[in-house]
């Protein structure tokens, strides 16, 4: 079976180049590459929020926008996406690198 990523285009830093190509299957595959074998409802709450924010603003939300928008605490966010949630979440949600500083 072909990988869901075979037709996906990435930029030089490994972020999806075209966020309209994104599917939930792609997200699961990208998450595996980031070391997350299973995505729970809490992961999806964050990813779904990021997708929505991406549709509205055209770019990935910052961590503080994620905690503010989902009600998920900073501690839980870092627990769900350990070792660098900012880049990880943006990557899995098929968005570019987050542009804000907070």
């Amino acid at each position: 079976m072909a990988s869901p990523l075979s037709a996906v285009r990435f930029d030089a830093e490994g972020f999806m180049a075209d966020r309209s190509q994104w599917t939930r299957g792609i997200a699961e595959e990208l998450a595996r590459q980031e070391g997350l074998d299973t995505l729970t409802d809490r992961h999806w709450a964050i990813i779904d929020f990021c997708r929505k924010a991406g549709d509205q603003t055209g770019h990935a939300p910052t961590l503080r926008e994620i905690t503010g928008g989902t009600g998920i605490t900073t501690k839980e966010l870092f627990g769900l996406f350990p070792k660098g949630p900012a880049k990880k979440v943006a990557k899995i949600a098929g968005l570019g690198k987050p542009e804000g500083c907070v």
């Binding site: 961590l63 503080r64 605490t73 900073t74 501690k75 870092f78 070792k83 660098g84 949630p85 900012a86 880049k87 990880k88 987050p98 500083c101 907070v102």
Partner: protein, 167 residues
């Protein structure tokens, strides 16, 4: 990953409002990128992590050559705030209020909240033992997010292999 994680450490030695933010902003960015963060607060930097001081940090226009009238949106170019105005009572409070307003508009959290975010994101934060002894600061004076009080030598041990930024 088998490779050792990148580490960064900040030494915060200043308690002015403008000098509080660099380590907080960079530390938060580092955590977001999966880098281990340690912050050491020494001398005036302890103002950032003591309950009595953290919400009262200020920025003084007096003798600050970077302060320009144009920062308030007036087309005055490089015209500075004259030092004589800086000594008027209330100028420091005004500058502080103004900076806080600008930061809020950019959705930058206040220092107290930043310390909470850094702690929740996994940063380790310590007070400097010598300054704590000199200022007579008690454990209870610190924000609860502070991990302890350590000596300069402890800090060196903790930050082996880290990139160190002095502010």
């Amino acid at each position: 990953m088998a490779t050792e994680n990148r580490k960064i450490a900040f030494i915060c030695s200043k308690g002015d409002l403008d000098m509080a933010y660099p380590a907080l902003i960079m530390g938060w960015a580092a955590l977001g990128n999966g880098i281990d963060v340690t912050i050491f607060f020494t001398f005036w930097g302890l103002d950032l992590v003591t309950k009595k001081r953290v919400d009262r940090l200020e920025i003084a226009p007096l003798a600050n050559t970077s302060f320009k009238i144009s920062m308030m949106g007036l087309p005055t170019g490089n015209l500075g705030i004259p030092s004589i105005l800086g000594i008027i009572p209330g100028m420091t409070a005004f500058a502080t209020w103004f900076m806080k307003k600008k930061m809020k508009a950019l959705k930058v959290p206040p220092v107290r909240e930043y310390i909470e975010m850094l702690h929740d994101g996994g940063a380790k934060m310590y007070g400097c033992k010598m300054t704590v002894d000199m200022f007579g600061i008690q454990k209870d004076d610190f924000l609860p997010q502070i991990d302890g009080v350590v000596t300069a030598s402890d800090f060196m041990d903790m930050t082996e292999g880290a990139q160190i930024v002095f502010i």
